[in-house]
């Protein structure tokens, strides 16, 4: 099974959960790790609003995903896999996935994700399956060496497993999935080459708006705000693009939506994320732009939060404030 990992390495496939870790390298670490058992987990939590590629893949290519997990099971010599599904995906595609797994006689179990955005994070995911308190854990040790039940665990995104299956079949053409939504003509999931800029994606899919707009690139909550003249770059993280009308969008309603999402989705473990998020929500619902307080809150969220969720929360708010709201005030 050495060729499988070599093939993936050669393809240069990067993890599609947002962090972009090299998939081949990850598989090799899990393969070399020692443990009496190993686990493979397919992460289909997809909690980010405005990103719906995993649902698209599960709907149209469940065979490929299961095939990808099977390849992983053989490659890292594991005998148990989980598919960690969001509640509505579990309800919609659970039946179909179970049927495929039963037909192929694979050791794959389905697991329903508890509510909350943080539960899609890999260390929380592990604790959810273990049945423990849903809080993130300190990294290192990474799950590749100490994961589910303290054993080496391979966690990859649904899209990654889909592309692994494609690589082994020899059908991989360096593409990825983009979820386009917002004020556009054809909101949908598109499979396009990796190296396209955001402008090219919008133009190629016929979604370039004819009005002044700004976009949120990455995800519908943690993504960065980009103005029209900043679209000559590749998309980072998750392939979500949300287009907003520049004049018609209510910025505070938008930020309230994000704040409410984070306030309900975080785990309430550390002070900056628990208290800071509440304060941010409070300030935004009163439509205040108190620069000092906001600056302080963003500072502690960015620098002192426990997990990467807390560290990334401030990005959309900060970019929207700096690029649009403060500019308009002056």
């Amino acid at each position: 099974m050495k060729e499988v990992i070599e093939k993936i390495k050669k393809s240069g496939l990067k993890g599609r959960s947002g962090s972009g870790f090299l998939t081949g390298a990850k598989w090799e670490i899990v393969k070399k790790a020692t443990g009496r058992k190993k686990y493979v987990i397919c992460n289909a939590a997809e909690g980010e609003p405005g990103v719906f590629k995993d649902g698209f893949i599960l709907r149209h290519y469940p065979q490929e995903v299961v095939n990808g997990i099977k390849i992983a099971l053989n490659a890292v010599k594991s005998d148990q896999a989980y598919i960690y599904l969001r509640k509505d995906y579990y309800q919609k595609y659970g039946f179909l996935l179970r049927k495929i797994i039963k037909d192929r006689k694979l050791p794959i179990a389905l697991f329903k994700k508890p509510d909350g955005y943080i539960n899609g994070e890999e260390t929380v995911l592990i604790r959810a399956i273990e049945g423990k308190k849903l809080e993130p854990q300190k990294k290192p040790p990474y799950p590749v060496t100490v994961g589910l039940f303290g054993l080496p665990t391979l966690i990859n995104n649904t899209e990654t497993f889909y592309f692994v299956s494609r690589i082994i079949k020899g059908e991989y053409k360096k593409t990825r999935f983009y979820s386009l939504s917002g004020d556009i003509k054809h909101p949908d999931t598109y499979e396009l080459p990796e190296n396209l800029t955001i402008k090219e994606i919008l133009e190629k899919t016929g979604n370039w708006p004819d009005f002044k707009f700004f976009i949120q690139a990455g995800g519908g909550a943690t993504g960065e705000i980009l103005l029209m003249d900043e679209l000559e770059r590749k998309i980072q993280g998750l392939g979500g693009i949300i287009v907003y009308h520049f004049e018609k969008t209510d910025y505070f309603a938008l930020m309230n939506k994000w704040a409410d999402f984070f306030y309900r989705g975080n785990c309430d473990k550390c002070t900056p994320c628990r208290e800071g998020m509440y304060r941010l929500k409070e300030i935004l619902s009163q439509k205040k732009t108190d620069k000092d307080v906001l600056k302080d809150l963003f500072f502690v969220l960015e620098k002192t939060s426990f997990c990467s969720l807390g560290r990334n929360i401030s990005l959309p708010f900060k970019s929207l404030f700096e690029k649009i709201i403060y500019e308009q005030e002056i």
Partner: protein, 168 residues
């Protein structure tokens, strides 16, 4: 096998054994690092985010209670950045804890007030989160979400009127 080596805290060298945390060594040598959720007998929970220290090489803020020592480590325990982060986190914590000093058993001898004085914290910067009272009345049932002291008072009042009260 435990290895012995030296680490640098605020420019001074201290002996350390592998497996120890920065907070342990600092406390042992009389360097003050504030902390609230840390207890030596328990596993570090790292939730209060007050024991922040700075790694001089990477200049990122880390929690001393969970930071394991490595040979040649250079740590700063006090800088404007650190003080600012501690101050804001204290202010956020205080917002949950306001106006309870009068009937508190610690009678002003508490760690929070001590830290507030040291870090120049404006303790009423944010309004009390628990001040918000939520009433939902439906038929003869009353649901409410309020501070515990208030709940007791209201429950007494409604119990006198023989109405059902669900407390949360």
């Amino acid at each position: 096998m435990n290895k012995r080596f030296e680490i640098t805290i605020d420019g001074k060298k201290y002996q350390a054994v592998s497996g120890q945390t920065v907070l342990e060594i600092a406390r042992k040598n009389g360097i003050d690092i504030p902390s609230l959720c840390y207890h030596p007998d328990l596993e570090a929970s790292e939730s209060c985010r007050l024991c922040l220290v700075k790694n001089k090489d990477t200049s990122e803020l880390l929690t001393a209670c969970s930071l394991k020592v490595r040979p040649g480590m250079r740590i700063i325990t006090d800088s404007p950045d650190i003080r600012r982060a501690r101050r804001i986190n204290l202010e956020l914590l205080f917002a949950q804890h306001l106006e309870e000093c009068n009937d508190c058993v610690w009678s002003y001898q508490c760690r929070l007030l001590e830290l507030a004085k040291k870090y120049d914290v404006k303790i009423n910067r944010f309004i009390d989160r628990k001040k918000i009272i939520l009433f939902i009345k439906w038929a003869r049932l009353l649901f409410l979400k309020a501070p515990s002291a208030l709940i007791a008072a209201i429950a007494w009042k409604f119990a006198a009127n023989k109405e059902w009260v669900f407390l949360s």
